[in-house]
Subunit: 137 residues, 2 copies
DNA sequence: TGTAAATTTGTATTGATTACATTTTATTAT
DNA sequence: ATAATAAAATGTAATCAATACAAATTTACA
């Protein structure tokens, strides 16, 4: 836990108990959770936790480049710790998100000349092996 | 307009007046509009138009592979006619969406072995030339 | 210890999307 | 042409993630 405090501090984030718990959850459950999933999970241990705090904290993490937002469709925003660039796959049947080891292509400077590119997201959608088998069985 | 009817029919969509108008709007305003923008634009000519109808029609277009959904962030879903695979750039300042001539990379079959991939989206975010100049002026 | 700043909380609101029942329009058989 | 049926369009209400905001709590430090 001490190490987590140091990580937060290195991103200019004061390591309060709630922030540590949310960071720990993201670190130890790399399941690209929604804000609500984080809230539901931590609520057991922190009964006073508020959903607003979860959103506040996630936004703070994002602003300080410790976490990122993954947008998979209009109804759910998911969160992930910042890491090597990679793609995501969403199973349209079970809604699980899988990491995919594909780099979002760097845009040719000529194609986005005079643009400032801060962020690239590459999203695939379809059926995961489990759901595929259930459908085509 | 006759040609648009034929296009709709070729996608198994009965070309009602409302559907033709929505198709025409998408075709002649390739600005990746939101459902609300489409509604606001057509409302002037079709005062009885309902927003539900816009959603219904867009979903029909998507189901019949005539249009696609572009998800840029949690609060806005945008729509686009199906075309050559390409990427999108969203300016975080003015919210405009630009087409980018970059193919979303086809996933290496070994990396998503046993997955069924239906759809790939590549999204860039940052500042467009105009907004960049306004910020850094 | 007391005061200011930072953090957390709870409630109310927003706004895009959907659910669904009703109404209108189009199609087809008689 | 008319009635019966199917398809399309409409309007209202509900949903739900996200945000706004003010109040309460905790922390820092003078």
């Amino acid at each position: 836990m001490q190490q987590y405090s140091d990580i937060l501090r290195s991103y200019d984030i004061k390591p309060s108990y709630t922030r540590l718990m949310i960071y720990q959850y993201l670190k130890e459950n790399q399941t690209h959770p929604t804000a609500d999933e984080i809230y539901q999970a931590l609520y057991k241990d922190i009964p006073t936790l508020s959903k607003t705090t979860v959103y506040n904290t996630l936004h703070l993490f994002i602003q300080n480049h410790l976490a990122t937002m993954i947008i998979m469709d209009q109804t759910e925003t998911r969160y992930d710790l910042v890491s090597e660039p990679h793609a995501h796959f969403k199973c349209m049947s079970c809604s699980k998100i899988f990491d995919v080891d594909v780099m979002p292509p760097k845009v040719d400077a000529r194609k986005l000349k005079d643009y400032i590119v801060n962020d690239a997201q590459l999203l695939y959608r379809g059926l995961c092996p489990k759901c595929k088998d259930n459908v085509t069985q």
